[in-house]
């Protein structure tokens, strides 16, 4: 299928709190459905964190198993622990169960309304209600089934967004949903293909600004962007059999998405094959990894394993929400993040000079590094990854 469900979120804790009271979880089901939940626990800090984590985890389990939405909501209402201060069990939530064909089941409980955006307008979601009596209170959940089209976005946030700036003279009642909607509409009309990551970051940062940079509550926003699949090819390593070089070049030329070439010899093979100039960008010097090179037809040309191992490290450990264009590894990370489907074409030639005790140990193990990278991209970033060895 050539459609992609891009999901990203961004979160800030309440000022001076060390843990988040909001919780956002996302999983991919074996049948390619994407299930995502944003829960906001009552209060802030550890208690809120436990409530929201519990709620979100339970909802995710139910949704992944495709349990009836209303039944799932009711089970959660009945089982949530009760807040000792307020005598109510409380974590608001918004939950989505999105099929690859765009059919989406939504479930909402007391969060700011879920927004559905298409062609520069917000669409109305026709919701049904379901009520349940618990020991302490009567709760109403809203549920709906909608069909997303290419270019549609779903935007959900905690009340930290709509209530941002509350109490200040300019915004006595906070930012408020209609102003948030206007802000979102302005951002998207300025940048129609803005990624889920950038849009969610943008909304949360704006809310923080309205709270004079000291969030009065946890602020979380998650965005779903349903669009055509973006493809990326990574060619790395010379082929084990040098007669396969023309095959590599051919694959490079025929691929219609963006292309990364990683490796000195590899980039020379491709440059020679397509008759392109290859030039090292000396303005891109950094102490730990070699500079990128410039070649027509490639989105990025880098050195091989030092760069790839740094990419693995960044993807595994760093907060990648806002990457600045730092070095070749960060550029590669940026391309990975903005892509859905990644095709690795991996040469199996062994560079004898790398099999040396004075060289970094990962240098000799291209296949291990690529496998590790592929696993992180699959598991942590939900990318579709295929690997071909030549």
């Amino acid at each position: 299928m050539n459609n992609t469900i891009e999901v990203a979120h961004y979160n800030l804790h309440k000022y001076k709190e060390k843990v988040a009271g909001d919780c956002f979880l996302m999983n991919k089901a074996p049948d390619e459905r994407i299930v995502a939940t944003l829960a906001d626990g009552m209060g802030s800090g550890v208690k809120a964190n436990i409530l929201s984590e519990l709620t979100a985890s339970m909802l995710q389990r139910f949704m992944l198993a495709n349990v009836n939405t209303v039944r799932a909501a009711n089970s959660i209402m009945e089982t949530l622990p009760i807040c000792s201060v307020r005598k109510v069990s409380y974590s608001t939530f918004t939950s989505l169960n999105i099929s690859p064909d765009g059919v989406t089941k939504t479930l909402e409980y007391d969060n700011p309304e879920l927004l559905w955006f298409r062609n520069n307008e917000f669409l109305q979601i026709t919701k049904k209600t379901s009520s349940i009596e618990t020991n302490t209170t009567r709760n109403t959940t809203l549920y709906a089934e909608i069909k997303l089209e290419f270019g549609d976005r779903l935007i959900m946030f905690s009340d930290g967004v709509t209530q941002a700036g509350m109490g200040f003279s300019a915004t006595p009642l906070g930012w408020r949903i209609n102003n948030v909607k206007k802000y979102i509409k302005d951002i998207i009309s300025n940048e129609t293909t803005i990624s889920a990551k950038d849009l969610s970051f943008n909304i949360v940062e704006k809310a923080k600004e309205m709270d004079l940079n000291q969030p009065k509550d946890d602020i979380t926003c998650a965005v779903v962007y349903y669009r055509k699949t973006r493809e990326l090819m990574v060619i790395t390593g010379p082929p084990g059999d040098r007669n396969k070089c023309p095959y590599m070049v051919e694959q490079f030329q025929q691929f219609s998405g963006k292309k990364i070439v990683s490796g000195g010899t590899t980039s020379k093979i491709i440059a020679d094959g397509i008759g392109a100039d290859l030039e090292v960008d000396m303005t891109d010097m950094h102490s730990d990894i070699p500079p990128r090179s410039i070649m027509k037809g490639a989105a990025l040309v880098t050195e091989g394993l030092l760069t790839i191992n740094k990419v693995i490290n960044i993807l595994d450990n760093e907060n990648i929400t806002q990457i600045k264009d730092i070095d070749a590894a960060h550029r590669m990370v940026e391309l990975f993040i903005d892509t859905d489907s990644i095709y690795f074409l991996v040469g199996t030639a062994i560079n004898e000079a790398h099999q040396n005790q004075n060289m970094p140990v990962e240098m000799g193990l291209r296949r291990i590094s690529i496998n590790k990278l592929a696993n992180i991209l699959r598991e942590k970033y939900l990318k579709k990854v295929t690997i071909e060895y030549v």
């Binding site: 010899t265 091989g304 000079a353």
Partner: protein
């Protein structure tokens, strides 16, 4: 009188980089203007020269040098300076 010109090409591939070619770049960028003030030196990076075991590899005016380091690069450049 026009300045004498020297072209230096440094391999910045994995192997040479790991063996210190990046340090040579830093060294040259820092020291060049001080030590060779009357010579125009152009510094360029290149990719693998297929001599990884003998790296870092540096090419000065089309002559290839192996096992180059910050200790010997100055004398190698001096070889190319007339007088």
């Amino acid at each position: 009188m026009s300045k004498e010109k020297i072209n230096i090409e440094l391999c910045l591939g994995s192997s040479c980089f790991s063996k210190g070619s990046n340090k040579i770049v830093d060294f040259l960028e820092e020291k060049l203007s001080d030590n060779f003030f009357d010579i125009e030196i152009s510094l360029k990076g290149c990719l693998c020269k297929d001599k990884c075991t003998e790296g870092p590899i540096v090419k000065i005016n089309d002559k290839l040098y192996t096992n180059v380091s910050t200790d010997n690069i100055t004398s190698l450049i001096n070889e190319h300076i007339s007088n």
